[in-house]
Point group: C2
Chain length 365, copies 2
DNA sequence: TTGTATGCGTTATCAC
DNA sequence: GTGATAACGCATACAA
């Protein structure tokens, strides 16, 4: 009778079968230390016959390395994140690493729990797109206890971590320029912008400086608003505050409602801050019976799959999702494989360029 | 100087700080055995102060349980899979389990590698959508070494595992009935169908029995073809073999090409076998300048996000993605938490119903 | 109720 | 080159 729990051959079993000591078997199978040729051969054969698999838990206990990274995003089902996850997973696989994944639905509580689990697993680093900028003590604690964090897309500004993200300001500027070049002067913008209180929006617009290469201490939707403002400023166009839609929360429903308000102020073009905003805005445009591009030109910030299928296909700014994932994974792997030479722990801040995919949703005025 | 590697407090540290033995500290923090109230209090305080996190590797070494499942899909970026992953991850989190994820891009070699890694991690079970029906010895080996496998969507028929999938035959029958009820007699079908050699398609069509509740030993695209044939048979309509498009490989490019061929035989309606086929078919329809539903009615098997955004919105059959993920996770967790009473290892075969989302892509003839 | 001792499967440190 | 043996951090049987 085979017993209830799985049996796995151990080094001891292999060593016995090959007539050597555990130490020798370990050296042969772990590729360290000296092993004689014929001994190694015997051991490999025995291991294969017994279907031996090294127990990573035991290895982790000794080495302190789990050969595993943790990853936290707000919604695995969102195209943007699932694409990044895919590239992270594949890059890590190629380098012998696993990835544990959690989905927070924007809940800081769940993010905290996920982090605790990761610490129990002794992961070698984490990739995270934080749920809340103002509530990241758990991330700080993780860092201060020696963990390495790579933030993607969203970045808590005062966290000692690496960051990988699109150059949001430049990208939004490029989109806005495109619309301005087509003759548009009343360009709407729909974004979460929860950091900016509605009352201070005008002040905020005035505050935005033409150039700022410093690390941007803002959410992506705000950074992109900067780019939107930049393009207007350089073209000498004054921005009408009514055209800036602030949803306040990150949902397509809110985006739909806010877009409705903006449409009441007669924009000739619309730029969204990301894919979720695009979904909401699209619903509002439909509901208002507006045609693209005859009645309204449109650029989606985030190239959702379906934008190429609607009629006419919609111009969009494509995130470099694969690059984001690969860069994040690369940083962690480099760190995890560092030697004993204590290099001074330098954090990377990768800014990537995306690309504007021109389709047919912009009308020349 | 803080040293190069992360330091984590251990039970020994906590015990010392709380002035108790390791055993007592372990009992308090592991919630097992007897612990005095004030001792427990001291220990909890000390653990908190030291930011103690139990080392799951050590626990796994003893218990043989990793509190982790493995999951293998062919493409994380596909909406269908990312939705399932999301529900698996969330369900598992609620029950104290982690999920390791791999993406095979349909490569059996990678699937094999992933499985080996999972064995090294001593995962408590795996969820897999196999890359190849005819090449699953690695899965069999996993099972015979005591591992538990839940197959989703695609199922290797002779593998001792649980299965969770849509009732494909019934679902496709429902879609086809809908088209027939609308008056359509020439309904095209686009699927991978790689199991069926083109030469034997006619024979295959004749072979299909009206009723077969047995576990279907075929790929989803074939099972769905059965449903398509069922609906025709019960309506007394003869199927024209030219209307059945077999892509032979799983790619949207192949689907586009094959759809082109089918369109040449003047179907009035089209049913796809899944989301990837839908994408390819849609491109072909565009390329042929056909309008939906005026020139061609359309049902997508798989309710992709964008189908509600195109004009007109497309009728689609929605997979119960969340349910699939939850059922799969439920089965594994139930098994992982089983007691010592060796229940006789019964495999579940869950068949779920999806739902036809009616939109505006079907024209009444 | 608490403490002591032993083992899980590896790797590392020594002698041989 | 190879083989004992002691860790790693936790859980468990058993003694106190």
């Amino acid at each position: 009778m085979p017993g209830n729990k799985q049996k796995h051959a151990t080094l001891v079993d292999v060593a016995r079968a090959a007539n050597v000591s555990v130490a020798t078997a370990g050296r042969a199978l772990g590729n360290y230390g000296y092993v004689g040729a014929e001994a190694k051969d015997k051991i490999l054969k025995a291991a294969h016959a017994l279907n031996y698999r090294k127990n990573l838990a035991a290895q982790s206990l000794i080495s302190g390395k789990a050969k595993t990274f943790g990853m936290i995003v707000s919604d695995i089902g969102i195209e943007f994140y699932s694409n990044i996850i895919k590239s992270v997973v594949n890059y890590c696989r190629g380098h012998g690493y696993c990835v544990l994944i959690y989905d927070t639905h924007e809940s800081v509580r769940i993010e905290r729990e996920a982090l605790a689990i990761f610490q129990q697993h002794r992961v070698d680093g984490i990739i995270v797109s934080p749920a809340d900028f103002r509530n990241a003590d758990h991330l700080r604690e993780f860092v201060s206890s020696g963990g390495r964090v790579v933030q993607i897309d969203r970045c808590v500004p005062d966290l000692e971590s690496d960051t990988v993200q699109l150059d949001n300001r430049r990208a939004a500027r490029e989109c806005t320029r495109k619309l301005i070049a087509a003759g548009h002067r009343r360009i709407g913008y729909i974004g979460e912008l929860s950091e900016i209180r509605p009352a201070s929006l005008r002040k905020f617009m005035a505050t935005s400086q033409p150039v700022s290469d410093a690390r941007q201490p803002f959410a992506p939707s705000c950074q992109r608003l900067f780019g939107y403002l930049d393009a207007h400023r350089e073209a000498g166009i004054e921005v009408c505050p009514d055209l800036i839609g602030r949803t306040g929360q990150y949902s397509d429903g809110a985006a739909c409602k806010e877009t409705g308000k903006v449409l009441a102020h007669a924009p000739t073009a619309l730029l969204t801050a990301d894919g979720l905003m695009t979904v909401g805005a699209f619903r509002a445009i439909r509901a208002h019976g507006l045609r693209i591009p005859e009645d309204l030109s449109f650029i989606s910030f985030d190239d959702l799959d379906w934008l190429q299928f609607v009629d006419p296909p919609v111009t969009a700014f494509a995130h470099p999702c694969s690059r984001i994932g690969e860069e994040a994974a690369r940083i962690l792997i480099k760190w995890a494989n560092r030697g004993e030479d204590a290099s001074p722990l330098h954090h990377e801040h990768v800014r990537l360029a995306g690309s504007l995919i021109e389709r047919e949703s912009i009308r020349m005025l």
